[in-house]
């Protein structure tokens, strides 16, 4: 076990998986010479050579489109999108090809592409360095989506994604890239997709979150202290989704608050609420509440704290339910 930050754990996973499987290569903007703008790919080019950690042209659709072709040549490309909002040019390739090509081949070819990107707000950055695009990705058939919140999961989930035979998108919460520290198993470490993590147990209200919002929920649980005992479910994987874990917790607490940074309308929180409204309706003792970003452009950073779900907003939602 080593104590690593979340972004160090990502780097560890990449080193481990590239060493393990010669078909894995990393492709993206500034991933090579610079080792990534967050150093997530540091050391890969020196260790594995410029052909396995490739500084691509500045073209996100080109990166993902080339990755489709690389799969046809037997590779397992790991594509970095430099930031959340800069991944949007790749959506066309994602939706029309990455999610459909295996189906198109009658199930005979596989497209084990991993797309990883830093995402989320709160980092005091200029415009378009703060988005939470997971809903665009998870709505796309043929794609899997995972979002770790701890260094150990960042390593294990990325390893699982790289080894997965299907295309997987991993969103890394950049807000806690360097502040989330924790024990990370050395060497090979895989966290299977589709298993939620009970970040903390509780009996009154279930807080469902992922990425950087898990810590916000844990802090809210602390802040609420005696007022309400909160169970925090870190779903870790949006598709496949661990419905059992979510439903079991709601069955126990009878109350649910869903938290994410992304804009509210048709965000992934809506899917979680719909799941509960379909399969846990008779367990519920109150409305299913969401604490999310707003349906507005991500704001100037001087007021971004008012946009991001906060301990106060989460606590207020919990109080509504237990009042």
């Amino acid at each position: 076990m080593a104590e690593l930050t979340l972004v160090e754990a990502v780097n560890d996973a990449l080193h481990t998986e590239l060493a393990r499987d010669g078909d894995v290569l990393v492709l993206g903007e500034d991933v090579g010479r610079a080792g990534g703008v967050f150093r997530a790919t540091a050391g890969l080019r020196d260790r594995f050579g410029p052909e396995r950690c490739v500084d691509s042209p500045l073209a996100e659709a080109g990166i993902l489109g080339a990755a489709v072709g690389l799969c046809m040549a037997g590779f397992r490309p790991v594509c970095e999108m430099q930031y959340d909002a800069f991944s949007y040019p790749c959506l066309d390739q994602l939706i029309t090809h990455v999610g459909r090509y295996r189906w198109r081949s009658g199930g005979q070819m596989t497209f084990p592409i991993t797309i990883r990107m830093p995402y989320g707000g709160g980092v005091r950055a200029p415009e378009l360095h703060d988005d939470s695009p997971e809903a665009y990705y998870v709505h796309t058939p043929g794609i899997k989506v995972a979002i770790p919140s701890t260094p150990a999961d960042a390593k294990g989930i990325l390893a699982a994604a790289i080894r997965d035979p299907d295309p997987v998108v991993v969103f890394e919460p950049k807000l806690v890239y360097r502040t989330a520290r924790g024990e990370v198993p050395e060497g090979e470490h895989v966290v299977p997709l589709g298993q939620a993590r009970i970040a903390r147990a509780g009996t009154d209200v279930t807080l469902i979150a992922y990425g950087a919002m898990v810590a916000v929920c844990e802090r809210a649980a602390d802040a609420l202290g005696g007022e309400a005992s909160c169970e925090v479910v870190d779903i870790r994987s949006l598709r496949p989704l661990d419905e059992e874990a979510i439903l079991a917790s709601v069955a126990k607490t009878g109350r649910a608050v869903i938290v994410h940074e992304a804009p509210r309308t048709a965000g992934f929180g809506a899917e979680l609420a719909a799941l509960i409204a379909e399969k846990a309706i008779f367990d519920l003792q109150g409305p299913v509440l969401r604490v999310t970003g707003y349906d507005v452009p991500y704001p100037y950073w001087t007021i971004e704290d008012a946009y991001m779900p906060s301990v106060e907003r989460v606590s207020a939602a919990v109080r509504k339910l237990v009042a």
Partner: protein, 336 residues
């Protein structure tokens, strides 16, 4: 200002390209006839309601047969819907392609079985795939080449730009064949580019660009042969612009009378690519009327057998909905 001015021609007077035996020239003819027959029969099948909307490639056979004749079987072909039947040159069964146009799952072949990628419907989006595959082959030290087909309209898409540039930067063994039939459905080439030639775009990517007469199968082959040799020997990609004028509707659903220049169409039909090649072969004493008739008969037989085989297939199982989307599907797959 245009750097690519020459329009390459071989038929009508030119010398046949090196390395083509009489047998090769006749095999090329056979492929053109097969493609032509597939296309003409498909239009009939559509009228008879036996296949769905169909993208007609009449008079595009010289480009498709000529360019692919420069490939080995280990090389990959990336077709658009306009080259839907290009698998025929690799021996793909007629019924497989007919089934694609009939919306039957058996029309979805595995690219790995033929080194022919899936028919690409979204314009130009397969160009980066060809770049990636070619680059991947190079990384593996295999000398396979990727050849992608797309139209004049496709050159306006960002995907074309990113894909060709990617291939150029990676020195990928790719050949980009632009079928410039001067129309994107109803949109004329002047609405796609202000350049004098589409081959000129190659200059901006630092790769060779060639213009050929798209109705001259030997000119297309010759340009492709050079491009494939260059790609195989590490010289990187080439952009080939095959120029002609669309002489048939965009697809069975389309009525060009609203926009096309009929006089120009008639001209084009007069220099129709298969007849032109046949006259060349006859002048050279290579093709006899008997042989030509036999080739046509064989092709017609292949189409008769193909549509029969397609129509004989049982309707697909609805459970196919849930197959093939994932290797390892999420539990929610069947929720709906």
């Amino acid at each position: 200002m245009a750097a690519v001015t020459e329009l390459r021609r071989v038929l009508d007077g030119g010398e046949p390209p090196p390395g083509l035996s009489e047998a090769d020239l006749l095999e090329l003819h056979r492929r053109m006839v097969l493609l032509r027959t597939y296309d003409e029969r498909s239009v009939v099948f559509h009228r008879q309601g036996r296949i769905g909307t169909y993208a007609i490639f009449w008079n595009h056979e010289a480009i498709q047969a000529g360019a692919t004749f420069a490939l080995d079987d280990r090389d990959w072909i990336f077709p658009s819907y306009r080259e839907s039947a290009i698998g025929l040159v690799r021996g793909m069964p007629v019924e497989t392609i007919l089934q694609w146009w009939r919306g039957h799952p058996s029309g979805w072949w595995s690219p790995a079985d033929w080194n022919v990628a899936s028919i690409c419907v979204p314009i130009a989006t397969h160009v980066p795939h060809a770049a990636g595959l070619a680059w991947g082959k190079k990384l593996r030290g295999e000398d396979a080449v990727a050849m992608a087909f797309f139209g004049d309209g496709a050159t306006s898409e960002g995907a074309f730009h990113e894909g060709v540039n990617f291939a150029a930067v990676m020195g990928a063994p790719a050949v980009f064949v632009c079928n410039n039939n001067q129309w994107a459905i109803s949109t004329p080439i002047e609405a796609q580019t202000r350049a004098e030639s589409l081959a000129d775009k190659a200059i901006g990517y630092g790769i060779p660009g060639v213009r050929v007469d798209g109705l001259d199968v030997l000119a297309v082959y010759d340009a492709a042969r050079e491009a494939v040799a260059r790609a195989r020997s590490g010289g990187g990609p080439t952009l080939i612009e095959a120029v002609h004028y669309r002489a048939a509707p965009h697809a069975t659903a389309d009525d060009p009378s609203a926009y096309i220049d009929q006089a120009r169409v008639d001209e084009e039909r007069a220099r129709e690519c298969l007849g032109r090649y046949e006259r060349f072969l006859e002048r050279a004493g290579i093709l006899t009327e008997e042989h030509a008739a036999a080739v046509r008969a064989e092709a017609e037989q292949a189409l008769r057998a193909g549509i029969a085989a397609a129509e004989a297939e049982p309707p697909p199982d609805e459970q196919l909905l849930f197959d093939n989307a994932y290797v390892d599907p999420p539990p929610s797959l069947r929720n709906g």
